[in-house]
């Protein structure tokens, strides 16, 4: 395997760095963190590392998750591996050498403090080459509007984990679209489904992060 293939392997199987004991078969070996740095030092282009190392690996992870072959713990390990290695590529995004595909503002809706799903989605979308503005949890429509003003043209993602808070998505979608009629709002979370998405006039629902990554990929536009 060349260095990029090794980076992809580590991300796919959740090997964060050398110190990480997981997965057992890679214990003591370099992880995504070290290998990404080595790949850059060995002259591999940052864009190539992103596409062939990170994106392809996370696509495979996302696909396995959609097919229920892996679950949240394994996916988290992969996302952590990718996220840790991403620090080596961030300067290349900042310089413009790697173009972002777009901007994605994400938050867990007002009243809800759950963030594990949101964090996974945020990591995967960033790994797919988007600039992610993660607002955190318990986010009202005002806060989303504030960020949309700073980052026009962004896509928005709403997350909820409870049946009692997902209903807040309706008013958030309504408020956001009143100000930005062309805004694309994506929703997700354990209690949410496609029918609910249509009912509240959101634009996209996916039961898993990969579906959202694929959808955003169809709508991306390069930004600096």
């Amino acid at each position: 395997m060349n260095l990029i293939e090794q980076v992809a392997h580590c991300i796919e199987f959740g090997k964060i760095n050398k110190a990480s004991p997981y997965p057992p078969e890679l214990k003591g070996q370099d992880g995504a963190d070290e290998l990404t740095q080595m790949a850059l030092e060995n002259g591999f282009a940052a864009e190539e590392i992103l596409q062939k190392g990170f994106v392809e690996a996370m696509n495979r992870v996302g696909q396995k998750f959609s097919e229920h072959k892996i679950f949240v713990p394994q996916m988290l390990m992969s996302a952590k591996a990718m996220n840790t290695a991403m620090k080596h590529l961030r300067p290349y995004f900042q310089s413009g050498e790697i173009s972002r595909k777009g901007k994605f503002i994400i938050g867990t809706v007002a009243g809800d403090l759950h963030d594990i799903g949101k964090n996974l989605v945020a990591m995967m979308v960033e790994g797919a080459g988007w600039e992610v503005i993660d607002l955190g949890v318990d986010i009202s429509h005002d806060r989303f509007l504030e960020e949309l003003e700073k980052h026009p043209g962004s896509f928005v993602g709403l997350s909820a984990m409870l049946t009692t808070t997902m209903v807040n998505m309706e008013s958030i979608v309504k408020n956001l679209k009143e100000k930005y009629p062309d805004l694309v709002v994506c929703i997700g979370g354990a209690p949410v489904n496609q029918e609910f998405c249509q009912k509240i006039n959101a634009d996209f629902y996916s039961p898993d992060p990969q579906g959202l990554v694929n959808y955003l990929g169809q709508h991306s536009s390069k930004v600096n």
Binding site: F71, P73, L76, M77, N119, T163, T164, M166, E170, F196
Partner: protein, 343 residues
């Protein structure tokens, strides 16, 4: 039959005279009683009053006494935030390092104010309603779910992959003790049944193998505790639980409260003669945001699926949002009462 008798029959696999109904409606009950969640969680008289009014308004059979989903976590020292108009919630876990599980002090759940409020509310309800209406004393989180709160959900998920397993089991044992303490206390209130939620143990989060290793053994201990007091037990897991329905049965729970994402047909196939389904109408998409027509359609669909088994109690699949329209709940119950297919 009265409400108590109807629910009792369904739990025992005996034919009730009509479809029994239980509502997961604590937030809706508080709103209709005209109180904030802050007033609700602090006063057992208010809790009891809200549920009594709800039973009088809607004429259902069983009250699910639920107040907050982080009460046990609070009893264990997790920092809790108490909004005025929303249920209590937690931000971060208590254990920044899993190794610190060994430093956790033995807990006495009964010393926590909100546990005592909860218990007193159940006592008041039982005293008032006697054996007319069935009282389910929910006991907050099952051990795995509680462990996600004590450790932080994301950290525990990574612990399952990376940490020394014995430490994970120590945390789960600690949480099992807390849940069992609550069950024991609830048994003394006169509650007719007890229950816990274990949604983080479902397939939306962990694999069936992980469920079998890290959740099921501890659920069994809790169920055994409930049974040692002669109480039936219900286990609540949200999301699509198809792939663990068979394993969940091994917990020994008498009833399973399942969410709308679990196909009732699959539940019927596996459970119809073994355990009672409580559920599973979509609380948000149908009951809160749907039309009366949507409610009618979904309720009839579900009743028809379960018409071949008496082991069924109609409910929402999970907690009803506070602004659920009264007309929708009335329609669901009306359909249930009129349904003649449940033979």
């Amino acid at each position: 039959m009265n409400g108590y008798e109807r629910i009792n029959a369904a739990l025992k696999g005996l034919k009730p005279d009509k479809t029994p109904v239980m509502l997961h409606n604590f937030m809706m009950a508080a709103r209709e009683y005209g109180v904030t969640m802050e007033q609700f969680r602090n006063d057992p008289g208010v809790i009891a009053g809200a549920f009594i009014k709800s039973v009088e308004t809607y004429q259902f059979d069983g009250i699910l006494v639920d107040i907050d989903t982080v009460t046990l976590a609070g009893a264990l020292g997790v920092k809790i935030d108490f909004p005025i108009n929303d249920p209590a919630r937690m931000h971060d876990g208590l254990l920044t390092e899993l190794e610190n599980v060994r430093k956790l002090k033995p807990c006495r759940v009964e010393d926590y104010k909100y546990i005592q409020v909860w218990l007193e509310a159940v006592r008041l309800l039982k005293e008032y309603l006697k054996d007319e209406i069935y009282i389910r004393g929910n006991c907050d989180q099952a051990p795995f779910a509680l462990a996600t709160m004590v450790r932080g959900a994301q950290d525990l998920m990574m612990d399952l992959m990376m940490a020394e397993e014995n430490l994970v089991f120590e945390l789960l044992d600690y949480c099992t003790d807390a849940t069992c303490q609550f069950i024991k206390l609830m048994a003394q209130t006169g509650a007719d049944m007890v229950s816990n939620g274990d949604s983080p143990a479902g397939p939306e989060m962990i694999s069936p193998d992980m469920y079998e290793k890290f959740a099921l053994p501890f659920e069994k201990k809790v169920v055994d505790t409930a049974h040692s007091f002669g109480l039936p037990y219900a286990l609540h897991i949200c999301g699509n639980t198809h792939v663990i329905l068979d394993k969940m049965l091994l917990s020994g729970a008498d009833a399973f409260e399942l969410d709308y994402k679990t196909d009732a047909r699959k539940v019927f196939e596996l459970y119809s003669d073994k355990a009672t389904l409580i559920g599973n109408i979509d609380p948000s998409g149908v009951l809160a945001l749907g039309t009366v027509g949507d409610v009618r359609q979904k309720t009839i669909e579900l009743l028809e699926i379960y018409s071949g088994s008496p082991r069924f109690i109609l409910n929402a699949g999970c907690a009803l949002p506070p602004n659920t329209p009264s007309a929708n709940i009335k329609e669901m119950i009306k359909i249930a009462r009129e349904f003649t297919g449940n033979q």
